[in-house]
């Protein structure tokens, strides 16, 4: 077990650096001075109970709502000053809570929406009939989506929608993938498949920062993890360290 930032103190500029941010909705502050970093090529998990502020943190990284205090750096650039769509165009893709697929659009159209983050699409390609990149790789990752390509996304099962949301985020080949509870509501089998896919995605050069209530799965997958309690980071370490930690076992790994 190590303190928050001992291990990575000498490494080069991390891909994502969150520095003492506070954020919230209206009068309610959900995050009280969060600091963390994600190195390029890592899978980092953020675990915590319901309502700890995990989703709020992911949304704040995307400036929705923006941080009230503190700074967020992406690849060395201060993104606290940018709008949500600008952050997405830098290569930050988000699979938000509840998946939020476009239910009235087909699977193929949902995937095409993932290309909106590409700067060339946003600036010039808006009247192009097709759009740039090929959904073929996504269909390769999730063959199920290929079968359903022309079906409305609203008709998909929960697991398929989760695949679609991840596929959509990957269309722009993001540098950083933010995943909010990818295991939520999924059958264990499908969850296992999605987590295996996440490992493949990292090999392709995408860094993953994921939020999970399912600490067991998340810690097995992650290189490192942070523990969030009531809007504050209380623990951090490698996935293995945290899995072995008695506190974690008691609080999150079914010490009931």
């Amino acid at each position: 077990m190590s303190e928050s930032r001992s291990a990575s103190a000498v490494t080069p500029e991390p891909l994502l650096r969150v520095h003492e941010i506070c954020a919230g909705y209206g009068a309610i502050e959900a995050l009280h001075g969060i600091s963390l970093q994600v190195q390029s090529g890592e899978i980092v998990a953020l675990i915590g109970a319901n309502g700890a502020g995990k989703s709020s943190l992911l949304m704040s990284i995307c400036a929705n709502p923006p941080a009230r205090k503190g700074k967020i750096f992406f690849a060395g650039q201060d993104i606290t000053v940018l709008a949500t769509h600008q952050i997405a165009r830098l290569g930050v893709a988000h699979v938000p809570e509840g998946r939020r697929v476009f239910t009235y659009m087909t699977v193929a159209e949902n995937l095409a929406m993932g290309l909106m983050a590409l700067p060339e699409q946003a600036n010039h390609g808006l009247l192009q009939a097709g759009g740039g990149a090929d959904p073929e790789q996504i269909y390769h990752l999730f063959p199920r989506l290929r079968e359903r390509a022309q079906q409305r996304a609203g008709t998909l099962s929960g697991g398929e929608q989760q695949m679609l949301a991840i596929g959509r985020a990957l269309m722009s080949r993001p540098r950083l993938l933010l995943l909010d509870e990818p295991s939520l509501g999924l059958a264990p089998q499908i969850m296992g498949r999605i987590f295996a896919t996440l490992r493949d995605i990292v090999k392709e050069g995408t860094t993953i920062f994921l939020v999970e209530q399912n600490a067991n799965q998340a810690l097995q997958l992650a290189d490192r993890a942070y523990v969030l309690v009531n809007g504050r980071i209380t623990l951090s370490g490698t996935g293995k360290e945290l899995l072995a930690s008695p506190e974690i076992r008691k609080a999150y790994l079914g010490g009931h």
């Binding site: 938000p96 009235y104 095409a112 909106m116 699409q121 192009q128």
Partner: protein, 308 residues
Amino acid sequence: MDIYIVGQQLVNGLVLGSTYGLIAVGYTMVYGIIGMINFAHGEIYMISAYLTAIFLALASYFGLQSVPVVLLLVLFATVFLTALYGWSVEQIAYRPLRHSNRLAPLISAIGISLILQNYIRISQGARNQGVPPVLDGVWRIPSSAIDQHFIQITYLQSLIVVTALASMALLTWIIHRTALGRACRATQQDRIMANLLGVDTDRIISVVFVMGAAMAAVAGMLVTLNYGSFDFYIGFLMGIKAFTAAVLGGIGSLPGAMLGGVVLGLAESFFAGFVNSDYKDVFAFSLLILFLIFRPSGFLGVPEVEKV
């Protein structure tokens, strides 16, 4: 019942309905994307009538003779400037209220509507204005008809229907087949998610206002050419009629607005032809009330139930 009278009302209804549809599209798209009824939309239509007259006068001042050239130039100029009005209205009156209470932009819309009416009244005068006929000529079916036994279609009426169909086909193509349209639909369904995916949703909302105003401008030009006269107050009645059409079709639905326009146009025209022409507006608004009571989602609207 005389088949020719029925046919004539059918023609009149289709012509009227296509203009309603063109304007209704603006209501329905704006409602779809920001959930607000843009009560200034009728005024945008009214302004396009004035712009049409101004550009027609300019064309004749510069001695342009060819009717197709004049019509095309006037169309592009009117659509462009009207779209600019639509864009400015959104920037000035609605965008600052984006995150406020739902009622605020509605009040703001009514305010903008009054401002635009009075701006035109002051700058152009309160009297009726007119344009000279640009395109004369009629078809009669059958062409050898005697007495009243024929259906008459003016060149302008056919131009109205053809232009309306073409504009709607173009708009439908943009919305359903281009990345811009996809971004519009995504913003309509889930603005936050579209934003997270890199869509500049504020810009998309502007684009929707521009497209709505452009369609209203097409209608404004066509109706102005057809009727020849207009004043600063025409936007009110036309606006509510088109809004009725949008509700009939199912507010938020693009094909619904077009369908609602045609249905309302036909209903009104048949009522005027066979029942009473003085009460045709009463009939149209009775339809609005009946739909709001018994089928608020219209013909093609989707009730707001589907949640993931």
